[in-house]
Symmetry: C2
Subunit: 340 residues, 2 copies
């Protein structure tokens, strides 16, 4: 298996990015990582990797899209940027997956420009896995599509359910629609129309209806469907609340505990290791013909390593083939709806 | 000061609701609470209140709107419901403030039907106070207006800034616009148009531009402006993440601490007391001519007491007079914008 990694993407690239590639190559004997970026900047981090060097290739390119650059403008002005080069490798089937912790907008726009979509997919969406009281749930879209149509959200539900089934190993995944209340008639037009689309589909038995913000972490469903604006805000709010509560809990514990302050610190560190969003493995852009993983800009080497591991996992699980099958059986419904 | 309290609103009404009124009456010698609801159900909770009874009036009414009822339908079919009776008291100037833990949609719709708005206000919005790393911030709207126009969001910013100044005591309140990235050009049309409105207003020095979900709890601004759909989801997600992390932290601490497990529990209980959303004092519906506080359906007696206390505080601080002044000085801009 071959994975292209945007070596220049991320707040501290290329150091932790290349270190993550080394980790993943060591953990996956079948994986070759193509490090896409400035060879002169990448090489120094590869001097001590021994035999792994054979499975750590470099594809040199001269340009980088900055984290704050306008995606569309940057993609046009910098044809030799590392993100576009990754996409090109995927389009040419030279890699099975691509991974970047760079400019998210550029990563998404790069794929949209090439229209490298799975059959029947209208718009790919970014899916984020979140911890819940009883396991994990997947929420999508978290930022690829901020003004979606109901049929896009419907497809996110289908793709998310396939992800939940084959990756999260949920027997019969349940889909919930993010809304401001649980009653069927709640919400704006997008929510109401999407609700109707699910309710009349052959997916209706998997659809539990509207859910509210507090239901995500209660684990009431396996797939949370929402537009990219709400999903992006939700993901980052979770990150902020976690950061906030960890700080407050730390203060409170240090003020309350007497002889076991150190054990209290250990407990908090364990929680951070388990739930810190900077340490998670990245979010797949579902609907792309190939595996595409988007990582947090501040990803550590561990996070990048995790992202490469999950990319490999999705390839092995044949995630995309299952998505194509599912979409084929719902294609008629979607065509009908969007004609109406 | 006179405050009407919907005695029938809330998951466990009227018990904790009336108990909250008793608490608030005891704490505020100048306050009279008008308990609006079924006299026979309210009376039993007032037998032991002694002298306070003189400041705890009952306005009998025969109907209640259920928590899950459709607001518009229920308001029409049940003319003698406790929420409408509260609004009527406010409209007739018989009370200075109204408080309810009942059906939020009905509470909002009740005020919208009467058009009991402050001068120049287009649409009232629900504001929620949230804790941050360095104090508090206010986020609005959290559910009154799920498909707002840019000028509504602009007014939320102005009203929120006045709230931050006179209630949260922020010298020069900073306003942020909830978005999916901090760059000016980010977001959907609503976000872009609202950004432009702030940037060209005389409020532009208070406007810090776009913020992301993780910035709320980092306290980067004093007022977070967003539409009612996003705000509602954010508020409930915060509730869910807090609940989730408290559970996980409890488990982790109990597994790690040895002799000080009990102190660990005390620390967590302190955090819950401080940050639990069920215990907070309710959210004001800003833009109403009068004070209107909307409480969480599962509000405890303490939460209701807090809500009555803050209602009194807003009346005393002449919050609405300050809002009217501020809106008058921005009225020209808003009129111009919405004509365009």
């Amino acid at each position: 298996m071959r994975v292209a990694l945007d070596a220049m993407g991320g707040d501290h690239a290329p150091g932790p990015i290349v270190a993550g590639a080394v980790k993943a190559a060591a953990a996956n004997p079948d994986m070759t990582v193509v490090l896409v970026g400035d060879q002169a900047q990448i090489e120094p981090f590869l001097v001590d990797v021994g035999d792994l060097r054979a499975r750590l290739e470099i594809l040199h390119c001269t340009q980088v899209i900055g984290m704050d650059e306008s995606p569309i403008v940057a993609l046009r002005r910098k044809p030799d940027n590392s993100i576009s080069r990754c996409w090109q490798l995927l389009a040419e089937r030279k890699v099975d997956a691509i991974v970047s912790a760079g400019n998210t907008g550029a990563m998404v726009a790069g794929g949209f420009r090439l229209k490298l979509f799975l059959k029947n997919v209208r718009r790919p969406g970014i899916a984020a896995v979140m911890p819940t009281i009883n396991g994990h749930t997947i929420i999508l879209d978290v930022g690829a599509n901020i003004s979606p149509k109901p049929e896009h959200l419907f497809q996110y539900g289908l793709m998310g359910a396939i992800f939940a089934k084959y990756i999260l190993k949920k027997e019969q995944p349940k889909i919930g629609l993010m809304n401001v209340g649980t009653e069927d008639a709640k919400g704006h037009d997008l929510a109401k129309d999407t609700h109707a689309l699910f309710a009349q589909s052959h997916f209706k038995d998997s659809f539990i209806g509207n859910i509210e913000g507090r239901d995500i972490h209660r684990g009431v469903c396996d797939v949370v469907v929402t537009d990219g604006f709400v999903g992006n805000v939700v993901l980052k709010v979770c990150e902020g609340v976690f950061e906030f509560i960890m700080k407050m809990t730390g203060k409170e514990l240090m003020g309350t505990l007497q002889n076991e302050k150190q054990l209290g610190q250990v407990a908090l560190q364990n929680l951070v290791k388990r739930y810190d969003y900077h340490e998670l493995g990245g979010a797949p852009l579902l609907g792309i013909d190939g595996i595409c993983i988007i990582c947090h800009g501040s990803s550590s080497d561990r996070a990048i390593g995790n992202a490469l591991n999950v990319a490999a996992k999705y390839v092995t699980a044949r995630l995309n083939e299952h998505i194509v099958e599912e979409l084929a059986s719902n294609a008629a419904l979607i065509a009908e709806e969007s004609a109406g």
